[in-house]
Amino acid sequence: MRFLPTEEQSDFARTLHGLLAASDVPAAVRAWGAGDHTPGRAVWARLADTGLFALAADEAHGGLGLMPPELAGGFVELGRAGVPGPVVETAAAAVLLTRLGDEALAKRFLPGLVAGETSATLTLPGGGPYALDADAATHLFTVSPAGELRLASAAGPLRTSLDPARRLALPDGGGELLATGPAVTAAARDAAHWARLLTAAQCLGTGEALLARTVEYAKQRTQFGTAIGGFQAVKHRLADTLLGLEFARPLLWAAALSLAPGEVAAAKLTAGEAAYAAAMTALQLHGAVGYTEELDLSLWLRKARPLRDAWGSPSQCRAAVLQERLRAP
């Protein structure tokens, strides 16, 4: 038992952190929200160069093999930086194609996804109805409850999320039938667990970014002649925010190690709630300036709620946790 990230795992996260810190992600997020995907794609290309997407695909098709702890660690950094786009969905699609084991499909899609040349969005049974960023993603995969994997296109108007950097579209229900049967259903179930895990990781990073920015602000903003961070009501709220995030982190690691449905649900529940609480604290402690879209803080503030609910709302996650318990002898 050694429940700590390895040197390599920490190094990988540090590499991503450095790369993203140097990439002006806030500008890319704002452009993405305005429909210009170019700066965002440039960030993606740099991420792909680190091998990030290769952690969700098998070696036969250019991947590094399925490595959930490394990938989850990476997604904490994506959340911290606020990287826009269907990052979770692209990784989950790669997992689905890897797990499916259909050689022709794997050859057709995986190399592009691994290299960051293409991206994917997808909807899965039990997930939400909307495909994220269907306008930006190269491929839109859907899996129906009956186990049909299709390459679909989007129907109807593109809807904007509460987070303007997230665009939502309903798949049209048709498209090329790629595969069908129980193998698709099984692969889709795995992919859904990965999507939930990686969203949990993004939540944790988002929450940490919100806390760090708020702590900085509380040290520097003065009222009544003193830094507001010296007021106990402010301190205690920030302490509680840290508490929430620090207890979500080990759940995320454990979920990445086992990928057991109950563990993944526990991680998503806890990280999602902690990040949302961090957002509410950030908003309150910034005062009115926090309630504007002008401050970059808003890029994370507006993400926290959709991420909390994507790929498993708190209520769905609680049900999954208990379901596993009640099934146990």
Binding site: F231, H236, F247, R318, R325
Partner: protein, 381 residues
């Protein structure tokens, strides 16, 4: 990252499980906050000690097994899962023993630790005073130099289990002229049956004499019972408060077992339509797991040579809030039976309510988290 225990740790777990299965009393012991319960718990701890399960992490010469923290955490999981009794000697084991390991003489360790491990001598913590709660450094009880030792005078309060305990440990002012309140304090041990000591039990919320006031009138303490250097009491005391808040006071095994019992209660009493309550049961399951994993991560950092400092304040706030929420959920599941004072969840609920107050109140812990972990400015205290 690896959450699997090595085979020798699993073997240790199996040995503990087998022993506990064969020896844990079939019917729960009476409350340890009563005279008869105290006696029954002493007997249990003597039995535990005879098989060397009382203090597994201590060196063998003092009755332990010399195992590391991972073994201890595994043992605690088995201990609580087996429904074994709460530990009447916990104040000594969690608070005094670590102090002795770090600061005492070999003679003191050899004299004090074995009888602590066996439950023969039960220790009480005498830190708080009527005027010194959160602001502990303002304490006024004195120790005055005398031939061969010190004379203690003053009043201590809220001393857990002192109503039936044998000895106590605490901090006393030895230099009233020291420039700062936390200077000129001395850490020492004394006998609760010594001349000059009056113990007045205090009924806690449910009336049980779970703590006591101590009135001290020139109580003699030999030099041999001073821990560390006179005048260094504050530093010595603070070096062990991390234990109180951190890993060792509330092992995750305790909450894992409680969450399991809560799930069982949901199975037998839960109303499937009451999803709000069901969600709280799920939160209890997740919280116990989070606390277990958080502790494993800290234990791993420990094992790799890092120290755990202000992080122990995160632990303390977490488990104390968690404990109350879990017990409230149990009471809600029980419905009208929750009100019965002799119910299985009644006393644990009462016990949980004190969590945010003792071991440093949660307000004080949040200050520590904010100032030491987040680097926010120090406020007026």
């Amino acid at each position: 990252m690896d959450l699997n225990h090595a085979p020798h740790v699993e073997a240790f777990r199996a040995e503990a499980r087998d022993w506990l299965a064969a020896h844990v009393p079939a019917t729960p012991l009476p409350s340890l906050e009563t005279r008869e319960g105290f006696a029954a718990h002493r007997e249990w701890e003597a039995l535990l000690h005879s098989a060397r399960w009382a203090v597994v992490s201590w060196p063998e010469e003092y009755g332990g097994r010399g195992v590391d923290i991972e073994h201890w955490l595994v043992f605690e999981e088995e201990y609580w899962a087996a429904g074994a009794p709460g530990r009447v000697s916990q104040n000594g084991i969690n608070l005094l023993a670590p102090t002795l390991f770090d600061h005492a003489t070999d003679e003191q360790r050899a004299r004090v630790l074995p009888s602590m491990a066996s439950g023969e001598t039960i220790w009480a913590q005498a830190w708080s005073e009527p005027e010194s709660g959160s602001d502990l450094a303002s304490l006024k009880s004195r120790a005055v130099r005398t031939e061969g030792g010190w004379l203690l005078s003053g009043q201590k309060t809220w001393s857990s289990r002192a109503a039936f305990a044998d000895r106590a440990f605490g901090i006393f002012r030895t230099d009233p002229d020291a420039p700062k309140p936390h200077q000129g304090l001395t850490y020492l041990m004394f006998d609760l049956h010594a001349p000059g000591v009056t113990v007045r039990p205090i009924g806690r919320l449910d009336g049980k004499p779970a703590f006591a006031e101590l009135f001290l009138d020139e109580v003699f303490v030999p030099d041999a019972d001073v821990i560390g250097e006179p005048g260094q009491g504050w530093r010595i005391a603070m070096s062990t408060t991390g234990n109180e808040r951190g890993l060792t006071l509330r092992a995750p095994g305790r909450f894992l077992a409680a969450a399991d019992r809560l799930v069982d209660l949901w199975r037998s009493h839960g109303d499937p339509a009451d999803t709000a309550l069901r969600d709280r049961v799920a939160d209890a399951v997740v919280g116990a797991r989070a606390y277990q994993l958080f502790t494993w991560a800290n234990a791993s950092r420990f094992a790799s040579g890092e120290t755990i400092g202000a992080e122990s304040s995160l632990n303390k706030v977490f488990w104390s809030q968690y404990d109350i929420a879990l017990h409230e959920s149990a009471l809600d599941l029980l419905g009208p039976d929750a009100e019965l004072a002799d119910g299985e969840w009644a006393e644990p609920w009462i016990f949980s309510l004190a969590g945010p107050i003792y071991a440093g109140t949660n307000e004080i812990q949040r200050d520590i988290i904010a100032e030491r972990l987040l680097g926010l400015p120090k406020g007026r205290r």
